[in-house]
Symmetry: C2
Subunit: 200 residues, 2 copies
């Protein structure tokens, strides 16, 4: 029996289970919004993947009682699962950067400045809300300060990703302001020389 290949989704699940056992539903909740945890998945993806991981012997399920027509199962990571997760963690990584936001920004020159401005303000509001959520999360780490400072504690790693998220939203907001400023005063950087500026 050779090693079953595990995809990113599988490792994302194993990563959550490494901290504590969870049900499929709890995993789905955790992966619904990327709070300090930059990955998302729906329950329709998670349940089949859990079954796969179980067949591969990387997780184990135990039936617990719960509501509904089906069994409620709590999944625990196995020794083997932990080993595979550890291997994956520092294996070579090549990432594909995908940002629909930047794709839109690249087309902003097509819009009249007022619409471009509105668009950026809407995005800015979105990132402000994220900042608030992150700030709220951040406060909860104050309760486990010792673990946050210990590199072998999951809180250490979790806190590091939250910091990254916080940095990102702050910078994105600052960038929005920078671009909004440039939109409002187009040629204020230098005295105008060329033709045709007054289009809008």
């Amino acid at each position: 029996m050779d090693e079953v290949t595990v995809g990113i989704l599988g490792y994302a699940i194993l990563g959550l289970l490494a901290t504590k056992p969870r049900t499929g539903y709890e995993l789905a909740q955790a992966m619904k919004t990327p709070i300090g945890y930059m990955w998302t998945a729906r329950h329709s993806q998670i349940y089949p993947e859990l079954a796969r991981l179980e067949r591969a012997g990387l997780v184990e399920a135990s039936v617990i009682d719960g509501p509904g027509p089906r069994d409620t199962k709590r999944y625990t990571i196995t020794e083997m699962g932990l080993r595979r997760l550890e291997e994956w963690t520092d294996s070579p990584l090549t990432e594909v950067a995908r940002s629909e936001f930047m794709l839109r920004v690249r087309c902003l020159w097509l819009l009249p400045p007022e619409r471009a401005r509105e668009f950026l303000l809407t995005q800015r509001r979105y990132y402000e809300k994220r900042r608030e959520t992150y700030a709220y999360e951040e406060a909860s780490f104050a309760l486990v300060e010792d673990e946050v400072d210990d590199p072998s504690s999951p809180y250490f790693a979790q806190n590091a990703t939250l910091r990254y998220g916080m940095m990102r939203v702050n910078d994105t907001i600052a960038w929005c302001d920078w671009l909004l400023d440039r939109l409002e005063r187009p040629s204020s950087r230098r005295p105008r020389t060329g033709p045709n500026r007054a289009k809008y």
Copy 2:
């Protein structure tokens, strides 16, 4: 005849064609690496999508001579394509943040500090290389300074995305340094001076 629905990939292509006509190959080159342009696609995705866009009347193809067994086609965006692209640009946007890097970081607590350190240094080197590429790109904008300041010029928007990319790599490098420092001196209680602290 009702409007054919266009996906992100379609708009990414239209966004590139809005600046100037290109062949499928040129589009594939442009979308291979996300230089100041945060989206990627392979030629196997681009060619069928171009055919779809053509059937929908959003782009037009003209055969030009070239090598190989098949015709070389140059695609131009149509008036209708431009209209659809403009509509899409500031339509409601909800983004899913996906970062395999942060997924790995969340598991760093499983690794011995030395391996965690090595992993972060490798990532840091990767982002340094990106920074160099961006710096190179940035220099080319100096040649079109007037357009960069004009919100109705594609260079304005392109430069804005490049700035965003540059900011991102700089901050990611700073964040790596912050975490490396925390890894090396685990439980020393020093004043909190993270990368996101009091910058803006």
